[in-house]
Amino acid sequence: MISILNFGMGNIRSVQKALDYLGIESQVIKSEKQILESRKLIIPGVGSFRLAMENINNKKLFYPLNKVVLEKKIPTLGICLGMQLMAEESEEDGVTQGFSWIKGKIKKFQGEKFKIKVPHVGFNDVFFEKNNKKLYSGLGEKSHYYYVHSYRISYNECDCVSGWTMYGEKFVASIEKENIFGVQFHPEKSQSNGLIMLKNFAEL
């Protein structure tokens, strides 16, 4: 049973729909008690980092999340904003502290410097690192995933990269650190490439 955390930042239904399609049992959760009872967790989310942290803090979810992720070490997957929250801080809309489960700061793509359009929208190549790639089992050395975001973690700033993408610069597509997983792209919007990845997570 996978718990999908609903903390008011959208995108819950498409994640659950993908798990349903794969025949994987899931439940949408929102309380402290439900987090503490979870055995496997997905933290989805689209939208503003600041608003997301406000919601987490107002609902007093940070303590139980730390408890299950850092102490009980349950497998946890952050998707898009959900992955960003795992990092140290974000400069979106003023500087906001994140969970600090992984190293890295969230900064905006430098559109003018690299002559790229921001937001970064569409399918792009994700190259897998040699180690740390449990989520990409069965997908070869690279795959294509759907992105829609303006903020990213720079490749060199992170110590647990499991996949990277080139968009003007090299940035972190995904992270893996023990039981903690995160993807900047949207597996639930990436056709079978994303479904395979979600299945891998479910089978951990």
Partner: protein, 265 residues
């Protein structure tokens, strides 16, 4: 590298799906037909993105459209854009809550620019697609239309493109009313012109009838995405073959294993 996109567009009117030629509609079938007999799943697994447009004339039934959208996207694991008849924030929320990732606006670009700005502010640029319908005459003159192509507006095509930028939209969905449903190919000259004056990705629509047309839209005119709304031209494995043709011709396209879906159901 960021990939080019192949998009399928469904046109819906009063719960029934439509074939359009020069914006004249013909009923083809309801939701059941689309899901069961049209083998929509096979199509949904072979495209990068789905667009669903409510093409009902006059005041549109947003609730019925949303019901359809919910059922349609059950087995869709790609981004979905939907619109047609969005006249309020409430409409946009309804559509986004029915499984759409982006919304499409056409008439409000001209009649309700404030609404478009609010949509952009609330949901972000990447969430709002500006749909521009144009007609090109034999003498080369171009006019822009709103209200399902029924009402000519004072803006030139260049002004309409600029307006989409100014309002903060994230993409342009450009439709040639003259090419629509003909199968003669996209209006490449106009498309190329719009791409050249736009900082936003341009999705081209109207006229695709052969596999090569999709390739031309990207290679010759520079579109970011190519779409077809023709329910019959690319039936069965048609869109899979379009995709293969695009890859063979050297376009960067996303790849995924279609066989995976067969292992599930």
């Amino acid at each position: 590298m960021l990939k080019s996109r192949l998009i399928f567009t469904l046109l819906m009117k009063n719960g029934s799906y439509q074939l359009s030629r020069n914006f004249n509609l013909q009923d083809v079938g309801g939701l059941n037909w689309i899901k069961k007999f049209y083998n929509f799943n096979a199509i949904a697994f072979s495209i990068d993105e789905l667009i669903v447009v409510n093409v009902e004339r006059g005041e549109k039934n947003v609730d019925l459209f949303c019901e359809n959208l919910l059922t349609l996207n059950e087995n869709c694991f790609m981004p979905i854009a939907a619109g047609g008849g969005i006249r309020s924030m409430d409409h946009a929320y309804k559509i986004l809550n029915s499984g759409a990732d982006k919304i499409i606006v056409n008439t409000p670009l001209v009649t309700q620019p404030k609404l478009v700005r609010s949509l952009v502010q609330t949901f972000g640029s990447q969430c709002v697609i500006a749909s521009i319908d144009f007609k090109k005459y034999d003498d080369g003159k171009i006019e822009v239309f709103i209200d399902n192509g029924s009402k000519k507006i004072d803006q030139s095509l260049e002004e309409a493109v600029k307006n989409a930028h100014n309002l903060g939209c994230g993409e342009i969905y450009l439709t040639s009313m003259e090419q629509d449903g003909t199968g003669y190919g996209y209006d490449l000259n106009t498309l190329k012109h719009v791409v050249s004056i736009s900082n936003l990705p341009v999705i081209t629509s109207g006229g695709a009838g052969k596999y090569e047309h999709f390739v031309e839209g990207i290679q010759r005119a520079g579109a970011s995405a190519v779409s077809t709304a023709n329910l019959f031209n690319f039936i069965a494995d048609g869109l899979i073959e379009v995709r293969e043709t695009m890859i063979q011709k050297g376009l960067e396209m996303a790849y995924w294993d279609l066989g995976f879906y067969k292992t599930l159901k």
